[in-house]
């Protein structure tokens, strides 16, 4: 385990870091902002402030503190998602009040990297653990040798389906989207319109992007190393293909459009209203906690494909740990970010997997029998990670914009209104594309 050698490694790393930082200062001055702080020598136990909203995170923190004497995590739950980001933006702008280490969802990393308040963890040994993560996951948090965050969990997508409903109406598990639609029509007729094949929640930009991702869409071309230039291609042919398909599903009464994460949605999952749920890797734990009604009746199959026999996958959600420029000892903060849910910290992952239902991004944990071989009562004893893990490995790369709140807002607002007013979904994508381009230009980006 990593715990015993933490302090020894830290000392050596720190001297290396100090040397590197000094060289960097000598060579380039202060070109890359405030993150070139030479590491000061801490005395006694260093307290590292961490903001995160993972479930069961207290146990992870307690475990970390019990096994470290030289560093202590002081954890705060500063709100979920946007609530935390608002506080973080304010604190970063104010120059004080931000934590040393902060949880960021993958899609938010460019937004915060653009503010130049994230420490380049590449200088503190982050590239040493690069090999522990799938290529696409590492590309989400880095640009070349610059590393802005350490991945923690991900949301590879798969299709959760109700085995009981499938058996009742004699449906077969679809492997392509065409088959999926055919089964949906069969279900509609057989159930007399009582059951929908699924729910397409128009209020979750991450869900939509996950489906675009699988279809091979690249909504943005953005590199944090070249921050003022961006390519916007939100209404690509691939994205339109996805929306055309789902517009047809919804228009024909095969898919419902109840907003995700609402009472009505959970009730639909717990009753017989929805036969499938296009879920992310964190979905099982999430559904179990919020819609436990149909426990034992769910099963998991790979996401249906656009091309028969293909293996295209997408991601919905996931998070990471970044270090802010307010960390007094960025080297120690970086160690904490790397180690909390690091490849060697199997104790933390035991809590993360069994209690918090996180889907790990570190491949040694992911590929261990304890994870792939884990059976879930909620899924009638199925080893669901045998589906999710290969999906995780097959995901391609995707760039996020440095204004993701606006991006998600455009996707959800325009699609939401198209559904309400029964207008074209692809036109909604065109509107989003135009608005985003205008916004990016107004914000000073060179838009390609």
């Amino acid at each position: 385990m990593n715990i015993g050698n933490f302090s020894a490694r830290r000392v050596s790393r720190r001297s290396v870091v100090a040397a590197v930082a000094a060289t960097a200062l000598a060579l380039t001055g202060c070109s890359s902002g405030g993150d070139d702080k030479p590491a000061e020598k801490p005395t006694g136990t260093v307290t590292v402030k961490v903001w995160a909203w993972y479930p069961e995170f207290k146990a992870v923190v307690d475990q970390f503190n019990a096994t470290h004497t030289d560093v202590k995590i002081e954890w705060t739950n500063a709100g979920t998602g946007q609530d935390q980001y608002t506080k973080l933006q304010t604190a970063l702008k104010a120059g004080k009040g931000a934590p040393d280490v902060v949880m960021l969802e993958l899609q938010e990393i460019p937004t915060f990297a653009l503010t130049k308040h994230l420490v380049d963890l590449g200088k503190y040994g982050a590239n040493d653990v690069k090999g522990d993560y799938a290529g696409w996951a590492w590309s989400q948090v880095s640009s070349g040798d610059q590393v802005y965050a350490i991945p923690v969990d991900a949301g590879p997508m798969a299709m959760m389906y109700r085995d009981d409903i499938f058996k009742k109406y004699n449906l077969t598990v679809p492997t392509t989207w065409d088959e999926y639609k055919a089964q949906a029509e069969k279900l509609k007729t057989a159930s007399g319109g009582k059951s929908f094949m699924t729910d397409f929640g128009a209020n979750d930009g991450g869900f939509m992007t996950g489906l675009f991702w699988q279809a091979g869409a690249k909504p943005y071309a953005y590199d944090i190393a070249n921050p003022s230039s961006i390519g916007v291609n939100v209404n690509s042919a691939e994205a339109k293909k996805v929306f055309e398909y789902w517009e047809g599903m919804v228009g024909n009464g095969l898919a419902d459009t109840t907003a995700f994460h609402t009472t009505d949605f959970y009730n639909g999952l717990g009753s017989e209203k929805y036969a499938t749920y296009l879920a992310a890797g964190w979905g099982p734990g999430y559904i179990q906690a919020n819609a436990g009604g149909a426990a034992g009746k769910w099963k998991v199959a790979p996401l249906p494909q656009w091309t028969a026999g293909a293996n295209a996958q997408g991601d919905w959600g996931g998070s990471s740990f970044a270090v802010t420029d307010q960390a007094k000892y960025p080297d120690i903060a970086a160690k904490v970010a790397i180690e909390i849910f690091g490849a060697k910290n199997s104790e933390a992952w035991k809590i993360g997997i069994d209690k918090a239902f996180l889907f790990p991004t570190v491949t040694p944990v992911l590929e261990a029998d304890t994870f792939t071989g884990k059976t879930y009562d909620f899924f009638g004893g199925q080893k669901v990670n045998e589906v999710f893990v290969p999906a995780y490995s097959a995901i391609g790369e995707l760039d996020w914009s440095p204004f993701n709140s606006y991006n998600f807002n455009q996707l959800t607002t325009n699609l939401g209104q198209a559904i309400e007013k029964k207008t074209s979904w692809t036109a909604a994508l065109d509107t989003a594309q135009e608005n985003i381009k205008t916004y990016a230009t107004q914000q000073g980006f060179k838009v390609q």
């Binding site: 946007q82 608002t86 933006q89 653009l114 128009a202 209020n203 921050p227 003022s228 907003a259 994460h261 609402t262 009472t263 009505d264 009730n267 639909g268 009753s271 209203k273 440095p402 204004f403 709140s405 606006y406 807002n409 959800t412 607002t413 699609l415 939401g416 209104q417 198209a418 559904i419 309400e420 007013k421 107004q442 914000q443 000073g444 980006f445």
Partner: protein, 311 residues
């Protein structure tokens, strides 16, 4: 009532009548002014610290333009120009104006009828009714709205059998209006009821002797006599509807396609500041909205100046 009216005149009368020289009178006036300021001081400090200074700061940042790449630059009234041209701001303003035009009369009429009813009857039932109508106001807005969110649910709500989608584009404004009425009608009722209680009862007696029916007394005697309270309640309702924010924000997750992020100007400003970090643009929208509310309130007060006694 009588004490309040006499005290301001009584106080100087105690100092004044001795008819001293102009100098002592001026000194007395100064001392009086100083005492007055001393009394106002705690309020003035809070007003300046928590209202005027933040407003001045907001006005200042509304004159700057901040972009993700170029940072902050002084831009005069560019943000205001952008806000006036922004169709999303306009959509929100039109929506709250329409909402106010419908909501205000409905609310005030309901509150007035309820107040007149409980004023006329003094049974145990009227006391219970008075409390029951007031209770929704005691429930925090957030909790009341969440509760209505469940009541509107089409899977667990008690009205699910009607088949009405309470949160669709066509119905959601009425659903929100219902929540606002539920929450505020009781409060307005109490305001009007308190005004009714202050009226001299002899007036009704003479009206009755003159042969007026109870309905006539309510409409022709009581209602005109509480004119200023009515104006006040209406004014608060107008200001509240123009600044419509909490209820739609809380119901938004139920159907973001119907309750968009530009549903009302306040929600739009909130979104700009706290989701997109456009604090400058948000400040400009807020000031524009403030101007609309101010002008709207002024027009209303001017139109009702004879009744209001607020001039």
């Amino acid at each position: 009532m009588t004490e309040v009216q006499t005290s301001p005149t009584a106080a100087p009368a105690a100092v004044g009548p001795s008819g001293g020289t102009a100098g002592t009178r001026r000194a007395a006036r100064l001392k009086e002014a100083a005492t007055g300021w001393l009394f106002v001081l705690p309020f003035a400090v809070l007003l300046i610290a928590f209202l005027l200074l933040p407003m001045a700061y907001a006005f200042k940042i509304s004159l700057y333009r901040s972009t993700l790449i170029e940072g902050e630059v002084f831009a005069w009234f560019d943000n205001y120009k952008q806000a006036i041209d922004d169709p999303l701001v306009r959509e929100g303003v039109v929506r709250v104006l329409v909402f106010g035009l419908i909501q205000t009369p409905v609310m005030i009429v309901l509150a007035l009828v309820a107040a007149l009813l409980i004023d006329a009857a003094t049974s145990r039932f009227s006391r219970f009714f008075r409390l029951a109508a007031f209770v929704p106001y005691a429930v925090p807005v957030v909790i009341g709205t969440l509760m209505w969110g469940f009541l509107y649910s089409d899977s667990v709500g008690p009205f699910a059998w009607t088949g009405i989608d309470f949160t669709s584009t066509g119905t959601v404004l009425a659903s929100l209006g219902n929540i606002v009425t539920w929450q505020w009608a009781g409060y307005n009722m109490i305001v009007l009821y308190a005004a009714l209680q202050g009226l001299p009862r002899e007036t009704y007696e003479s009206a009755r002797i003159d042969g007026a029916s109870e309905v006539q007394i309510a409409l022709r005697i009581k209602t005109p006599m509480i004119g200023s309270a009515l104006v006040l309640a209406t004014l608060f309702t107008i200001m509240g509807t123009l600044q419509f924010f909490t209820e739609p924000l809380i119901l938004q997750p139920l159907n973001p396609g119907a309750i968009t992020t530009h549903y009302t100007p306040n929600i739009y400003a909130y979104q700009q500041a706290f989701s997109f970090q456009q604090y400058n643009y948000s400040a400009a929208i807020s000031f524009l909205l403030g101007a609309v509310v101010f002008v709207g309130s002024y027009i209303f007060l001017f139109a009702t100046r004879k009744r209001s006694a607020l001039q």
